[in-house]
């Protein structure tokens, strides 16, 4: 094994003062092919110009309804889905501009936790092997130590040591998600991208997994990019939140700021839909009409104008700028 001698982080030169992750104007388009010769007739603009910066140790929540492109952002950041344009910088190094081999050695530092705990584990690989194999493959631990490391991480994720020799089909959904988390965690990553990690689980298990995420952040100082459509989950976990709509960022703000002073009409509508445990509280419920438009043919101007209750002429013609409104609060709306 040649990798034994190469430590995973040696491949890059981390730049001083560079944020852990910087995404600049990321665009990911999927070609639509049709006809006899498979010609490209258009593009689904899944991610259409997203910029965000993650400092080490923070938790950034990315919310938006289904089809808003939040998962594609996560996948494009770790090069699981290739971007169309823009830049992804990890500690100042462009992930899209490095040799395949270097990228492979860097991958353990950025882990993805999948939405579906059932399909993200190979049914024919034992849990212990699934968790430990990346460690072995990258030469991050000698063979004799691997089993102990796996046992440690299983325990940290709330699983028992006797689970190590079992197969994935012998576990429940919540346990499998813990296995997925353990598989990412054993590599001591700097960044964990969690792609709706709890949406496939039932509510009581969701709470357990979220608390596990919190505990791990406190004990290990992890940085999360937490993708979710559930605002109450994001509120519980994240320090900063970004709201996406149709591939574009609508608003980003620190958590408390966003929940108390939402500026974008879309954010307001989303927040008004979060259930509150006070039955008699009278709230204004903003109901959005219609569905999210087709990302292959997004509306001109502000992408939200077709469903915005306050839309004016300028919204239909001009794309709003992403403006700073003070105290780390950014919003893309003409009317604010």
């Amino acid at each position: 094994m040649a990798e034994l001698t190469i430590a995973a982080s040696e491949g890059i030169t981390p730049q001083q003062n560079a944020p852990l992750l910087e995404v600049k104007d990321l665009k990911t388009y999927f070609p639509i092919k049709s006809g006899l010769f498979n010609r490209t007739v258009g593009y689904v603009k899944a991610v259409d110009g997203i910029s965000l910066t993650l400092q080490a140790g923070e938790t950034f929540g990315l919310v938006g309804e289904s089809g808003s492109g939040k998962s594609t952002v996560g996948r494009s950041i770790i090069r699981l889905t290739e971007k169309t344009s823009g830049e992804v910088l990890y500690k100042g190094n462009d992930l899209y501009n490095m040799p395949e081999k270097e990228l492979r050695h860097l991958r353990p530092k950025m882990q993805l936790i999948f939405q579906d705990p059932y399909s993200s584990l190979n049914p024919r690989v034992r849990v212990g092997d699934a968790i430990g194999e990346a460690l072995l493959n990258h030469g991050l631990a000698p063979k004799e130590e691997t089993r102990d490391r796996v046992l440690d991480v299983l325990q940290a994720c709330g699983l028992s040591s006797y689970h190590i020799d079992r197969f994935p089909h012998e576990f429940s959904g919540g346990q499998r998600q813990r296995i997925g988390i353990a598989r990412a965690l054993i590599l001591n990553p700097d960044l964990i991208i969690a792609d709706e990690p709890v949406s496939a689980l039932d509510v009581s298990i969701q709470a357990q997994i979220i608390n596990l995420f919190r505990k791990l952040q406190m004990t290990r100082g992890l940085t999360y990019l937490f993708i979710s459509h559930d605002l109450s989950v994001v509120e519980h976990l994240c320090s900063r939140i970004g709201v996406m709509y149709l591939g574009t960022m609508m608003e980003t703000a620190p958590r408390d700021e966003l929940f108390t002073h939402p500026l974008h009409p879309y954010t307001k509508a989303l927040l008004s839909a979060v259930p509150v445990p006070i039955p008699r509280l009278k709230r204004e419920r903003i109901v959005l009409k219609g569905d999210i438009p087709n990302p292959a043919n997004p509306p001109a101007g502000c992408k939200f104008h077709t469903r915005c209750p306050y839309a004016t002429d300028i919204c239909r013609q001009l794309v709003p700028e992403f403006r700073h409104m003070g105290s780390e609060h950014y919003v893309a709306c003409h009317l604010v």
């Binding site: 770790i78 990228l103 690989v125 020799d165 598989r183």
Partner: protein, 308 residues
């Protein structure tokens, strides 16, 4: 012990861990509970033993002609009677079984090797390689296989290929028509697995190609391959019989179940000497059914999600 989990599992001390039962062992346990499949397996084993060792105990030489005792009905001396040249039918039936089973298994092995390599290559490289391989496979699949085999068989007779080589050529012919279907199956399975989320997880973990291939892709294809190859033995035995029946496969005097049934080709033998064609017919029928039942049992069992 657990070749499927490979490296890590095998190298560690397992003293402290509870009994590790591998997926293969679990599958075998489930297979043993499937009575029908076990009956099929028992019959296949029986057929093999009888065909390969039976003739050793026969008092009659393989192709010894004895005109004095031609076309005798079954008796204690000749359990299944004698044929028109006075040869013992039972001895010939067992000798034929050797050839038929060997041809069936050998052509299965060749077509599985060709088919899975080409299918895997097509799925791995995609693009133009995929196009070329799969178009050739499609082409072979669009032409009905029996006519191709007939034409090839007729050509062999025309070119006067020595009789003793015919058996090997029949194997190659059967693999030639057998591999396209296998290549398609393996390719589609590989493509499906490639897109599975656990393969994406393997990319995110930064596993190298070798590990992705040998620890994640191949173990998920092997069960399918085992089932298909088992079932395709039956098909190959049938095809060989059909060819030999029409005198285009393995040629007499080398007996196969197919060219023995050839006796049914003329009305006199068909009506008056049924011991000439019923035994090989029954042998083909029972062997192929046993193989298919066993193959179905394997398919039911080799799914890790299935319990008990």
């Amino acid at each position: 012990m657990s070749s499927i989990t490979g490296g890590l599992a095998d190298t560690k001390q397992t003293a402290a861990s509870p009994i590790r039962s591998s997926l293969w062992r679990q599958a075998f346990r489930r297979l043993r509970k499937n009575k029908l499949a076990m009956a099929g397996l028992a019959f296949i084993v029986f057929m093999f033993l009888v065909c390969f060792f039976g003739p050793l105990f026969s008092p009659y030489a393989n192709n010894k002609i004895n005109p004095a005792i031609m076309n005798q009905a079954p008796s204690f001396k000749h359990w299944l009677g004698t044929d028109l040249l006075g040869r013992d039918v039972l001895t010939r039936l067992l000798q034929a079984g050797r050839i038929s089973l060997t041809v069936g298994i050998a052509s299965m092995i060749i077509s599985v090797i060709i088919g899975s390599i080409l299918g895997a290559v097509a799925a791995y490289y995609r693009g133009i390689v995929d196009q070329i391989i799969m178009r050739i496979a499609d082409l072979l699949l669009t032409i009905p296989s029996l006519p191709i085999l007939f034409i090839l068989g007729a050509l062999l007779s025309e070119w006067k290929v020595p009789v003793e080589y015919r058996m090997y050529i029949v194997m190659l012919m059967l693999s030639f028509v057998g591999w396209p279907g296998l290549a398609r199956l393996v390719r589609s399975q590989m493509l499906t697995i490639r897109e599975r989320e656990y393969m994406q997880a393997a990319i995110v973990l930064g596993l190298n190609d070798r590990r992705k291939l040998f620890n994640h892709m191949i173990p998920n294809i092997v069960p399918l391959l085992i089932v298909i190859s088992t079932l395709s033995i039956g098909g190959a035995i049938l095809s060989e019989s059909v060819l030999s029946f029409f005198g285009l496969g393995v040629m007499p005097p080398t007996p196969t179940w197919g060219n023995m049934i050839d006796a049914a080709n003329n009305l006199i033998d068909f009506e008056q000497h049924p011991w000439l064609w019923i035994p090989p017919g029954v042998a083909i029928f029972t062997t192929v059914i046993a193989i298919n039942i066993f193959g179905d049992g394997l398919r039911d069992v080799l799914d890790p999600k299935q319990k008990k």
